[in-house]
Protein backbone atom coordinates (compact mmCIF):
# COMPACT_ATOMS: atom_id res chain seq x y z
CA UNK A 1 0.00 0.00 0.00
CA UNK A 2 1.43 3.31 -1.10
CA UNK A 3 -0.19 6.49 0.09
CA UNK A 4 0.20 10.17 -0.63
CA UNK A 5 -1.68 12.18 1.98
CA UNK A 6 -2.42 15.92 1.82
CA UNK A 7 0.53 16.56 -0.46
CA UNK A 8 1.22 20.21 -1.31
CA UNK A 9 3.90 21.19 -3.75
CA UNK A 10 4.82 24.66 -4.92
CA UNK A 11 7.29 25.51 -7.64
CA UNK A 12 9.35 28.70 -7.32
CA UNK A 13 7.88 29.65 -3.95
CA UNK A 14 8.14 33.29 -2.99
CA UNK A 15 8.67 34.56 -6.54
CA UNK A 16 6.30 36.02 -9.13
CA UNK A 17 6.47 32.67 -10.90
CA UNK A 18 5.12 30.81 -7.89
CA UNK A 19 2.97 27.93 -9.04
CA UNK A 20 0.97 25.61 -6.91
CA UNK A 21 0.99 22.16 -8.48
CA UNK A 22 -0.52 20.06 -5.70
CA UNK A 23 -2.82 21.45 -3.05
CA UNK A 24 -3.73 18.79 -0.49
CA UNK A 25 -3.43 16.04 -3.04
CA UNK A 26 -4.41 12.51 -2.01
CA UNK A 27 -3.68 9.29 -3.81
CA UNK A 28 -3.22 5.70 -2.78
CA UNK A 29 -2.31 2.51 -4.57
CA UNK A 30 -3.17 -0.93 -3.24
CA UNK A 31 -0.82 -3.91 -3.30
CA UNK A 32 -0.27 -5.38 -6.76
CA UNK A 33 -2.41 -2.76 -8.40
CA UNK A 34 -1.24 -1.66 -11.86
CA UNK A 35 -2.21 1.98 -12.28
CA UNK A 36 -1.99 3.77 -15.62
CA UNK A 37 -1.74 7.52 -15.26
CA UNK A 38 -2.72 9.82 -18.12
CA UNK A 39 -3.09 13.58 -18.38
CA UNK A 40 -1.89 16.57 -20.35
CA UNK A 41 1.53 18.17 -19.97
CA UNK A 42 1.96 19.96 -16.68
CA UNK A 43 -0.84 18.03 -14.99
CA UNK A 44 1.59 16.73 -12.35
CA UNK A 45 2.06 13.11 -13.47
CA UNK A 46 5.84 13.07 -13.45
CA UNK A 47 5.95 15.30 -10.37
CA UNK A 48 3.83 12.71 -8.60
CA UNK A 49 6.33 9.98 -9.48
CA UNK A 50 9.21 12.21 -8.36
CA UNK A 51 7.46 12.82 -5.06
CA UNK A 52 6.90 9.09 -4.53
CA UNK A 53 10.56 8.31 -5.29
CA UNK A 54 11.91 11.24 -3.31
CA UNK A 55 13.55 12.97 -6.28
CA UNK A 56 11.84 16.21 -5.26
CA UNK A 57 10.78 17.30 -1.76
CA UNK A 58 7.21 18.14 -0.82
CA UNK A 59 6.12 21.31 0.98
CA UNK A 60 3.44 19.57 2.98
CA UNK A 61 1.87 16.18 3.52
CA UNK A 62 3.13 12.65 4.03
CA UNK A 63 4.18 9.76 1.85
CA UNK A 64 3.75 6.33 3.36
CA UNK A 65 4.49 2.76 2.34
CA UNK A 66 2.47 0.11 4.20
CA UNK A 67 1.70 2.70 6.85
CA UNK A 68 5.34 3.71 7.44
CA UNK A 69 6.05 7.38 6.87
CA UNK A 70 8.87 7.75 4.34
CA UNK A 71 8.49 11.50 3.67
CA UNK A 72 11.96 12.32 5.02
CA UNK A 73 13.72 9.29 3.56
CA UNK A 74 16.33 10.16 0.91
CA UNK A 75 15.75 9.02 -2.65
CA UNK A 76 18.41 6.32 -2.75
CA UNK A 77 17.01 4.60 0.33
CA UNK A 78 13.47 4.61 -1.04
CA UNK A 79 14.65 3.07 -4.26
CA UNK A 80 15.70 -0.04 -2.35
CA UNK A 81 12.20 -1.38 -2.88
CA UNK A 82 11.26 0.65 -5.91
CA UNK A 83 12.35 0.00 -9.49
CA UNK A 84 12.14 2.95 -11.85
CA UNK A 85 12.30 3.20 -15.63
CA UNK A 86 12.62 6.61 -17.24
CA UNK A 87 11.44 8.07 -20.52
CA UNK A 88 15.03 8.47 -21.68
CA UNK A 89 16.48 5.00 -22.39
CA UNK A 90 19.95 6.32 -21.44
CA UNK A 91 18.88 6.82 -17.82
CA UNK A 92 18.55 3.17 -16.92
CA UNK A 93 21.90 1.81 -18.07
CA UNK A 94 25.60 2.72 -18.06
CA UNK A 95 26.63 3.40 -21.67
CA UNK A 96 30.37 2.85 -21.21
CA UNK A 97 29.96 -0.45 -19.42
CA UNK A 98 29.25 -3.77 -21.11
CA UNK A 99 25.91 -5.55 -21.08
CA UNK A 100 27.36 -8.11 -18.68
CA UNK A 101 28.68 -5.42 -16.33
CA UNK A 102 25.33 -3.62 -16.38
CA UNK A 103 23.47 -6.82 -15.57
CA UNK A 104 25.93 -7.55 -12.73
CA UNK A 105 25.40 -4.08 -11.29
CA UNK A 106 21.63 -4.46 -11.34
CA UNK A 107 21.89 -7.94 -9.83
CA UNK A 108 23.80 -6.54 -6.85
CA UNK A 109 21.13 -4.03 -5.86
CA UNK A 110 20.39 -4.29 -2.16
CA UNK A 111 23.63 -6.16 -1.49
CA UNK A 112 27.02 -4.78 -0.50
CA UNK A 113 29.20 -3.27 -3.23
CA UNK A 114 32.44 -4.57 -1.75
CA UNK A 115 35.79 -5.72 -3.13
CA UNK A 116 34.56 -9.02 -4.52
CA UNK A 117 34.61 -9.51 -8.30
CA UNK A 118 32.09 -7.27 -9.98
CA UNK A 119 30.71 -10.07 -12.12
CA UNK A 120 29.86 -13.39 -10.53
CA UNK A 121 30.72 -16.00 -13.18
CA UNK A 122 28.06 -18.38 -11.85
CA UNK A 123 25.37 -15.83 -12.65
CA UNK A 124 26.24 -15.34 -16.31
CA UNK A 125 23.89 -18.11 -17.46
CA UNK A 126 21.10 -16.52 -15.47
CA UNK A 127 21.76 -13.15 -17.16
CA UNK A 128 21.69 -14.87 -20.55
CA UNK A 129 18.33 -16.44 -19.74
CA UNK A 130 16.89 -13.08 -18.69
CA UNK A 131 18.19 -11.39 -21.84
CA UNK A 132 16.74 -14.17 -24.00
CA UNK A 133 13.25 -13.16 -22.91
CA UNK A 134 13.77 -9.92 -24.83
CA UNK A 135 14.27 -11.73 -28.13
CA UNK A 136 16.77 -9.08 -29.21
CA UNK A 137 19.83 -11.33 -29.39
CA UNK A 138 21.51 -9.42 -26.56
CA UNK A 139 22.44 -12.69 -24.84
CA UNK A 140 25.18 -13.16 -27.45
CA UNK A 141 26.58 -9.65 -27.05
CA UNK A 142 27.46 -9.68 -23.37
CA UNK A 143 30.83 -8.02 -23.93
CA UNK A 144 29.70 -4.99 -25.93
CA UNK A 145 29.11 -1.61 -24.28
CA UNK A 146 25.46 -0.72 -23.77
CA UNK A 147 26.11 2.68 -25.39
CA UNK A 148 26.24 1.00 -28.79
CA UNK A 149 22.73 -0.43 -28.48
CA UNK A 150 19.63 1.24 -29.91
CA UNK A 151 17.19 3.14 -27.71
CA UNK A 152 14.72 0.27 -27.72
CA UNK A 153 17.34 -2.30 -26.81
CA UNK A 154 18.58 -0.08 -24.00
CA UNK A 155 15.07 0.48 -22.68
CA UNK A 156 14.47 -3.26 -22.71
CA UNK A 157 17.64 -3.70 -20.71
CA UNK A 158 16.63 -0.91 -18.32
CA UNK A 159 13.34 -2.74 -17.81
CA UNK A 160 15.14 -6.00 -16.99
CA UNK A 161 17.70 -4.29 -14.77
CA UNK A 162 15.21 -2.33 -12.72
CA UNK A 163 13.22 -5.48 -11.93
CA UNK A 164 16.06 -7.95 -11.51
CA UNK A 165 16.17 -7.97 -7.72
CA UNK A 166 13.14 -8.35 -5.43
CA UNK A 167 11.29 -5.02 -5.37
CA UNK A 168 7.74 -4.12 -4.40
CA UNK A 169 7.03 -1.14 -6.60
CA UNK A 170 7.66 -0.37 -10.24
CA UNK A 171 7.55 3.24 -11.38
CA UNK A 172 7.34 3.77 -15.13
CA UNK A 173 7.79 7.33 -16.32
CA UNK A 174 6.58 7.44 -19.96
CA UNK A 175 8.96 4.58 -20.56
CA UNK A 176 7.72 3.93 -24.11
CA UNK A 177 7.52 7.57 -25.22
CA UNK A 178 10.95 7.74 -26.86
CA UNK A 179 10.51 4.53 -28.84
CA UNK A 180 9.09 3.74 -32.26
CA UNK A 181 5.54 2.25 -32.18
CA UNK A 182 6.66 -1.33 -32.75
CA UNK A 183 9.40 -1.26 -30.13
CA UNK A 184 7.04 0.52 -27.76
CA UNK A 185 4.56 -2.37 -28.15
CA UNK A 186 7.34 -4.82 -27.41
CA UNK A 187 8.46 -2.99 -24.28
CA UNK A 188 4.86 -2.68 -23.13
CA UNK A 189 4.29 -6.44 -23.47
CA UNK A 190 7.54 -7.08 -21.63
CA UNK A 191 6.41 -4.71 -18.88
CA UNK A 192 3.10 -6.48 -18.49
CA UNK A 193 4.83 -9.85 -18.37
CA UNK A 194 7.33 -8.78 -15.71
CA UNK A 195 4.67 -7.07 -13.60
CA UNK A 196 2.55 -10.24 -13.58
CA UNK A 197 5.51 -12.54 -13.01
CA UNK A 198 6.87 -10.54 -10.07
CA UNK A 199 3.52 -9.37 -8.66
CA UNK A 200 4.66 -5.75 -8.62
CA UNK A 201 2.65 -2.75 -7.56
CA UNK A 202 3.00 -0.55 -10.62
CA UNK A 203 2.40 3.08 -11.51
CA UNK A 204 2.78 3.85 -15.20
CA UNK A 205 2.64 7.35 -16.57
CA UNK A 206 1.91 7.34 -20.29
CA UNK A 207 0.70 9.58 -23.09
CA UNK A 208 -0.48 6.57 -24.99
CA UNK A 209 -4.19 6.25 -24.20
CA UNK A 210 -4.31 2.87 -25.91
CA UNK A 211 -1.75 1.43 -23.49
CA UNK A 212 -3.47 3.09 -20.56
CA UNK A 213 -6.75 1.40 -21.47
CA UNK A 214 -5.31 -1.96 -22.50
CA UNK A 215 -2.89 -2.55 -19.62
CA UNK A 216 -3.27 -2.28 -15.89
CA UNK A 217 -6.01 -2.76 -13.37
CA UNK A 218 -6.77 0.90 -12.74
CA UNK A 219 -6.67 4.11 -14.73
CA UNK A 220 -6.44 7.66 -13.46
CA UNK A 221 -6.43 10.91 -15.39
CA UNK A 222 -4.76 13.93 -13.85
CA UNK A 223 -5.38 17.58 -14.51
CA UNK A 224 -3.77 20.54 -12.78
CA UNK A 225 -2.66 18.53 -9.81
CA UNK A 226 -5.94 16.72 -9.32
CA UNK A 227 -7.34 13.35 -10.25
CA UNK A 228 -10.30 13.85 -12.60
CA UNK A 229 -10.95 10.22 -13.61
CA UNK A 230 -10.31 7.19 -11.43
CA UNK A 231 -11.53 3.79 -12.66
CA UNK A 232 -10.64 0.44 -11.19
CA UNK A 233 -11.88 -3.15 -11.45
CA UNK A 234 -14.76 -3.77 -13.86
CA UNK A 235 -15.20 -0.05 -14.51
CA UNK A 236 -11.62 -0.03 -15.81
CA UNK A 237 -12.10 -3.20 -17.87
CA UNK A 238 -15.11 -1.80 -19.70
CA UNK A 239 -13.37 1.53 -20.31
CA UNK A 240 -12.93 2.50 -23.97
CA UNK A 241 -10.49 5.00 -25.41
CA UNK A 242 -13.44 7.15 -26.54
CA UNK A 243 -14.63 7.52 -22.94
CA UNK A 244 -11.43 9.07 -21.75
CA UNK A 245 -10.68 10.87 -24.99
CA UNK A 246 -13.69 13.15 -24.53
CA UNK A 247 -12.54 14.15 -21.09
CA UNK A 248 -9.01 14.52 -22.37
CA UNK A 249 -10.09 16.89 -25.15
CA UNK A 250 -12.11 18.93 -22.71
CA UNK A 251 -9.03 19.34 -20.51
CA UNK A 252 -6.73 20.10 -23.41
CA UNK A 253 -8.97 22.83 -24.81
CA UNK A 254 -9.12 24.35 -21.36
CA UNK A 255 -5.34 24.44 -21.24
CA UNK A 256 -5.08 25.83 -24.76
CA UNK A 257 -3.22 22.77 -26.06
Amino acid sequence: MLELRNISKYYNPGTVNEMCLFDHFNFSVGDQEFVSVVGSNGSGKTSMLNIICGSIPVDNGTIAINGTDITGMPEFKRLKRIGRVYQNPAMGTCPNMTILENMSLADNKGKSFNLKWGTDKNRIDFYRDRLKILNLGLEDKLQIPVGSLSGGQRQAMAMLMSTMTPIEFLILDEHTAALDPKTADLIMELTDKIVREKHLTTIMVTHNLRYAVKYGSRLIMMHRGEIVIDRAGDAKKSLKIENILDKFNEISIECGN
Binding site: C94, L105, F113, S162
Partner: protein, 295 residues
Protein backbone atom coordinates in the same frame (compact mmCIF):
# COMPACT_ATOMS: atom_id res chain seq x y z
CA UNK B 1 71.14 9.86 -25.58
CA UNK B 2 70.54 6.93 -23.25
CA UNK B 3 70.68 9.27 -20.28
CA UNK B 4 68.01 11.47 -21.82
CA UNK B 5 65.84 8.46 -22.61
CA UNK B 6 66.18 7.10 -19.08
CA UNK B 7 65.48 10.55 -17.69
CA UNK B 8 62.27 10.76 -19.73
CA UNK B 9 61.18 7.29 -18.59
CA UNK B 10 61.86 8.08 -14.94
CA UNK B 11 59.91 11.36 -15.10
CA UNK B 12 57.18 9.75 -17.18
CA UNK B 13 56.70 6.82 -14.80
CA UNK B 14 56.77 9.00 -11.69
CA UNK B 15 54.08 11.28 -13.10
CA UNK B 16 52.18 8.31 -14.56
CA UNK B 17 51.10 7.29 -11.06
CA UNK B 18 49.59 10.72 -10.55
CA UNK B 19 48.08 10.52 -14.03
CA UNK B 20 46.35 7.27 -13.02
CA UNK B 21 44.76 9.26 -10.22
CA UNK B 22 43.71 12.01 -12.63
CA UNK B 23 42.32 9.28 -14.89
CA UNK B 24 40.02 8.21 -12.04
CA UNK B 25 38.61 11.70 -11.53
CA UNK B 26 38.66 13.07 -15.06
CA UNK B 27 37.70 10.02 -17.09
CA UNK B 28 35.85 7.74 -14.70
CA UNK B 29 34.18 10.15 -12.28
CA UNK B 30 33.89 13.01 -14.77
CA UNK B 31 35.00 15.36 -11.98
CA UNK B 32 37.50 18.18 -12.72
CA UNK B 33 39.56 17.74 -9.57
CA UNK B 34 42.21 20.40 -9.01
CA UNK B 35 43.15 19.19 -5.53
CA UNK B 36 45.84 17.10 -7.23
CA UNK B 37 47.92 20.29 -7.42
CA UNK B 38 48.00 20.17 -3.63
CA UNK B 39 48.07 16.44 -2.95
CA UNK B 40 51.03 15.71 -5.25
CA UNK B 41 53.38 18.00 -3.23
CA UNK B 42 51.60 16.86 -0.05
CA UNK B 43 52.99 13.39 -0.67
CA UNK B 44 56.41 14.95 -1.21
CA UNK B 45 56.32 17.06 1.95
CA UNK B 46 55.14 14.19 4.14
CA UNK B 47 57.80 11.90 2.70
CA UNK B 48 60.66 14.39 3.15
CA UNK B 49 59.77 14.96 6.79
CA UNK B 50 59.30 11.26 7.50
CA UNK B 51 62.55 10.27 5.82
CA UNK B 52 64.45 12.88 7.80
CA UNK B 53 62.83 11.42 10.92
CA UNK B 54 64.28 8.07 9.91
CA UNK B 55 61.11 6.30 8.75
CA UNK B 56 61.53 3.42 6.30
CA UNK B 57 61.25 4.83 2.73
CA UNK B 58 58.82 2.11 1.67
CA UNK B 59 56.58 2.94 4.61
CA UNK B 60 56.52 6.61 3.54
CA UNK B 61 54.91 5.51 0.26
CA UNK B 62 52.11 3.90 2.19
CA UNK B 63 51.67 6.84 4.57
CA UNK B 64 51.64 9.33 1.68
CA UNK B 65 48.99 7.23 -0.05
CA UNK B 66 46.75 7.32 3.03
CA UNK B 67 47.23 11.05 3.68
CA UNK B 68 46.56 11.88 0.04
CA UNK B 69 43.39 9.81 0.32
CA UNK B 70 42.24 11.81 3.31
CA UNK B 71 42.84 15.09 1.43
CA UNK B 72 40.83 13.77 -1.52
CA UNK B 73 38.08 12.74 0.83
CA UNK B 74 37.91 16.32 2.10
CA UNK B 75 37.44 17.60 -1.46
CA UNK B 76 34.67 15.04 -1.85
CA UNK B 77 32.96 15.98 1.38
CA UNK B 78 33.08 19.70 0.51
CA UNK B 79 31.46 18.91 -2.83
CA UNK B 80 28.95 16.28 -1.73
CA UNK B 81 27.90 17.33 1.75
CA UNK B 82 28.18 21.10 1.40
CA UNK B 83 27.11 21.19 -2.26
CA UNK B 84 30.04 23.33 -3.41
CA UNK B 85 30.69 23.09 -7.17
CA UNK B 86 33.21 20.42 -8.16
CA UNK B 87 35.80 22.82 -9.57
CA UNK B 88 35.61 25.11 -6.54
CA UNK B 89 35.91 22.23 -4.05
CA UNK B 90 39.18 21.27 -5.70
CA UNK B 91 40.46 24.85 -5.72
CA UNK B 92 39.65 25.27 -2.03
CA UNK B 93 41.56 22.14 -1.04
CA UNK B 94 44.44 22.86 -3.42
CA UNK B 95 44.92 26.37 -2.03
CA UNK B 96 44.67 25.25 1.58
CA UNK B 97 47.18 22.48 0.93
CA UNK B 98 49.76 24.97 -0.33
CA UNK B 99 50.07 26.42 3.18
CA UNK B 100 49.67 23.03 4.83
CA UNK B 101 52.50 21.62 2.74
CA UNK B 102 54.74 24.54 3.75
CA UNK B 103 53.85 23.90 7.38
CA UNK B 104 54.56 20.18 7.13
CA UNK B 105 57.93 20.70 5.45
CA UNK B 106 58.75 23.80 7.48
CA UNK B 107 60.19 25.54 4.43
CA UNK B 108 59.76 25.74 0.66
CA UNK B 109 62.61 23.35 -0.09
CA UNK B 110 63.55 20.40 2.07
CA UNK B 111 66.53 18.32 0.84
CA UNK B 112 66.76 14.58 1.58
CA UNK B 113 69.75 13.81 -0.71
CA UNK B 114 71.92 12.06 1.81
CA UNK B 115 69.13 9.91 3.25
CA UNK B 116 68.03 6.42 2.30
CA UNK B 117 65.21 6.30 -0.23
CA UNK B 118 63.41 3.63 -2.23
CA UNK B 119 66.03 4.27 -4.93
CA UNK B 120 69.12 4.33 -2.73
CA UNK B 121 69.40 2.13 0.31
CA UNK B 122 71.60 -0.48 1.88
CA UNK B 123 69.41 -3.35 0.72
CA UNK B 124 69.53 -2.35 -2.96
CA UNK B 125 73.27 -1.65 -2.74
CA UNK B 126 73.76 -5.24 -1.60
CA UNK B 127 71.65 -7.08 -4.17
CA UNK B 128 71.98 -4.95 -7.31
CA UNK B 129 75.13 -5.42 -9.40
CA UNK B 130 77.15 -2.28 -10.14
CA UNK B 131 76.44 -2.45 -13.87
CA UNK B 132 72.68 -2.08 -13.42
CA UNK B 133 72.97 1.17 -11.50
CA UNK B 134 72.18 3.56 -14.38
CA UNK B 135 68.93 1.67 -14.98
CA UNK B 136 68.02 1.20 -11.36
CA UNK B 137 65.68 4.19 -11.01
CA UNK B 138 63.84 3.29 -14.18
CA UNK B 139 63.41 -0.34 -13.16
CA UNK B 140 62.16 0.49 -9.68
CA UNK B 141 59.71 3.02 -11.06
CA UNK B 142 58.52 0.62 -13.73
CA UNK B 143 57.81 -1.98 -11.06
CA UNK B 144 55.85 0.49 -8.93
CA UNK B 145 53.89 1.83 -11.90
CA UNK B 146 52.96 -1.65 -13.08
CA UNK B 147 51.90 -2.70 -9.58
CA UNK B 148 49.72 0.42 -9.17
CA UNK B 149 48.22 -0.02 -12.62
CA UNK B 150 47.35 -3.66 -11.94
CA UNK B 151 45.87 -2.80 -8.55
CA UNK B 152 43.72 -0.11 -10.15
CA UNK B 153 42.61 -2.50 -12.91
CA UNK B 154 41.70 -5.08 -10.29
CA UNK B 155 39.80 -2.54 -8.24
CA UNK B 156 37.82 -1.32 -11.25
CA UNK B 157 36.63 -4.89 -11.75
CA UNK B 158 35.28 -5.30 -8.24
CA UNK B 159 31.71 -4.50 -7.26
CA UNK B 160 32.91 -1.27 -5.67
CA UNK B 161 34.87 -0.45 -8.83
CA UNK B 162 31.79 -1.09 -10.98
CA UNK B 163 29.95 1.43 -8.86
CA UNK B 164 32.72 4.01 -9.29
CA UNK B 165 32.56 3.58 -13.05
CA UNK B 166 28.79 3.85 -13.13
CA UNK B 167 28.64 7.02 -11.05
CA UNK B 168 30.64 8.86 -13.73
CA UNK B 169 28.67 7.17 -16.48
CA UNK B 170 25.14 7.57 -15.18
CA UNK B 171 24.49 8.91 -11.67
CA UNK B 172 20.79 8.14 -11.90
CA UNK B 173 21.51 4.43 -12.16
CA UNK B 174 23.57 4.51 -8.98
CA UNK B 175 20.63 6.07 -7.14
CA UNK B 176 18.37 3.43 -8.70
CA UNK B 177 20.64 0.79 -7.20
CA UNK B 178 19.75 2.24 -3.79
CA UNK B 179 23.27 3.58 -3.31
CA UNK B 180 24.19 7.09 -2.18
CA UNK B 181 26.06 8.48 -5.19
CA UNK B 182 27.81 11.06 -2.95
CA UNK B 183 29.64 8.35 -1.02
CA UNK B 184 30.84 6.77 -4.25
CA UNK B 185 32.21 10.11 -5.43
CA UNK B 186 34.04 10.64 -2.15
CA UNK B 187 35.64 7.19 -2.47
CA UNK B 188 36.71 8.01 -6.04
CA UNK B 189 38.27 11.33 -5.05
CA UNK B 190 40.06 9.73 -2.10
CA UNK B 191 41.51 7.05 -4.35
CA UNK B 192 42.60 9.55 -7.02
CA UNK B 193 44.36 11.82 -4.56
CA UNK B 194 45.94 8.86 -2.80
CA UNK B 195 47.56 8.02 -6.16
CA UNK B 196 48.67 11.65 -6.56
CA UNK B 197 50.27 11.81 -3.11
CA UNK B 198 51.98 8.47 -3.70
CA UNK B 199 53.41 9.89 -6.92
CA UNK B 200 54.56 12.97 -4.99
CA UNK B 201 56.30 10.76 -2.45
CA UNK B 202 58.11 8.85 -5.18
CA UNK B 203 58.99 12.05 -7.01
CA UNK B 204 60.51 13.62 -3.89
CA UNK B 205 62.57 10.49 -3.19
CA UNK B 206 63.75 10.41 -6.78
CA UNK B 207 64.75 14.09 -6.93
CA UNK B 208 66.20 14.09 -3.42
CA UNK B 209 64.14 16.96 -2.09
CA UNK B 210 60.67 18.31 -1.51
CA UNK B 211 59.99 21.61 -3.23
CA UNK B 212 56.78 23.62 -3.00
CA UNK B 213 56.98 24.39 -6.73
CA UNK B 214 56.29 20.76 -7.63
CA UNK B 215 52.60 21.42 -6.99
CA UNK B 216 51.37 24.08 -9.40
CA UNK B 217 50.82 22.56 -12.81
CA UNK B 218 50.70 18.96 -11.62
CA UNK B 219 47.08 18.66 -12.68
CA UNK B 220 47.96 19.92 -16.18
CA UNK B 221 50.62 17.23 -16.52
CA UNK B 222 48.15 14.63 -15.30
CA UNK B 223 45.39 15.77 -17.64
CA UNK B 224 47.76 15.96 -20.59
CA UNK B 225 48.94 12.41 -19.94
CA UNK B 226 45.39 11.10 -19.70
CA UNK B 227 44.24 12.89 -22.83
CA UNK B 228 47.29 11.96 -24.93
CA UNK B 229 47.14 8.36 -23.80
CA UNK B 230 43.44 7.77 -24.21
CA UNK B 231 43.21 9.68 -27.52
CA UNK B 232 46.20 8.02 -29.15
CA UNK B 233 45.22 4.53 -28.14
CA UNK B 234 41.46 4.96 -28.41
CA UNK B 235 41.10 2.68 -31.40
CA UNK B 236 43.36 0.02 -29.98
CA UNK B 237 41.05 -1.96 -27.75
CA UNK B 238 43.84 -4.37 -26.77
CA UNK B 239 45.48 -1.61 -24.73
CA UNK B 240 43.70 -0.88 -21.49
CA UNK B 241 43.01 2.76 -20.64
CA UNK B 242 45.27 2.56 -17.59
CA UNK B 243 48.18 1.41 -19.77
CA UNK B 244 47.36 4.16 -22.25
CA UNK B 245 47.62 6.75 -19.47
CA UNK B 246 51.10 5.53 -18.53
CA UNK B 247 52.21 5.67 -22.17
CA UNK B 248 50.64 9.14 -22.43
CA UNK B 249 52.65 10.32 -19.45
CA UNK B 250 55.93 9.12 -20.97
CA UNK B 251 55.11 10.69 -24.34
CA UNK B 252 54.23 13.94 -22.66
CA UNK B 253 57.48 14.03 -20.69
CA UNK B 254 59.38 13.24 -23.91
CA UNK B 255 57.76 16.25 -25.57
CA UNK B 256 58.70 18.50 -22.66
CA UNK B 257 62.24 17.18 -22.64
CA UNK B 258 62.45 17.77 -26.40
CA UNK B 259 61.26 21.35 -25.99
CA UNK B 260 63.91 21.98 -23.34
CA UNK B 261 66.62 20.47 -25.52
CA UNK B 262 65.67 23.02 -28.19
CA UNK B 263 67.07 25.68 -25.89
CA UNK B 264 64.20 26.63 -23.61
CA UNK B 265 65.26 27.39 -20.05
CA UNK B 266 64.16 25.15 -17.15
CA UNK B 267 62.26 28.15 -15.81
CA UNK B 268 60.08 27.96 -18.91
CA UNK B 269 58.91 24.51 -17.81
CA UNK B 270 55.38 25.48 -16.78
CA UNK B 271 54.98 27.52 -19.95
CA UNK B 272 55.99 24.53 -22.03
CA UNK B 273 53.71 22.34 -19.95
CA UNK B 274 50.64 24.45 -20.58
CA UNK B 275 51.34 25.26 -24.24
CA UNK B 276 51.85 21.57 -24.99
CA UNK B 277 48.61 20.80 -23.18
CA UNK B 278 46.80 23.42 -25.25
CA UNK B 279 48.19 21.93 -28.47
CA UNK B 280 46.99 18.48 -27.42
CA UNK B 281 43.51 19.78 -26.66
CA UNK B 282 43.30 21.59 -30.01
CA UNK B 283 44.51 18.54 -31.92
CA UNK B 284 41.98 16.41 -30.06
CA UNK B 285 39.14 18.76 -30.99
CA UNK B 286 40.29 18.89 -34.57
CA UNK B 287 40.04 15.16 -34.89
CA UNK B 288 36.55 15.16 -33.44
CA UNK B 289 35.42 17.80 -35.92
CA UNK B 290 36.75 15.76 -38.84
CA UNK B 291 34.86 12.71 -37.66
CA UNK B 292 31.67 14.77 -37.46
CA UNK B 293 32.22 16.27 -40.91
CA UNK B 294 32.62 12.81 -42.40
CA UNK B 295 29.62 11.37 -40.64
Amino acid sequence: MLTILLGVLVEGFAYAIMALGVYITYKILDFPDLSVDGTFPLGGAVTAVLIIAGVNPLLTLFISFIIGGIAGMITGIIHVKFKVRDLLSGIIVMTALYSINLRIAGKANLPIFSRESIFENAFLARIIPEGLNPFLDTIILLIIVVIMKLLLDLYLNTKSGYLLRSVGDNETLVTSLAIDKGTVKIIGLALANAFAALAGSIYAQKSGFFDISMGPGAIVIGLASVIIGTNLLKRNSAVKATTAVIIGSVIYKACVSFAISLGMAPSDLKLITSVLFLIILILGNDRKRKVKANA
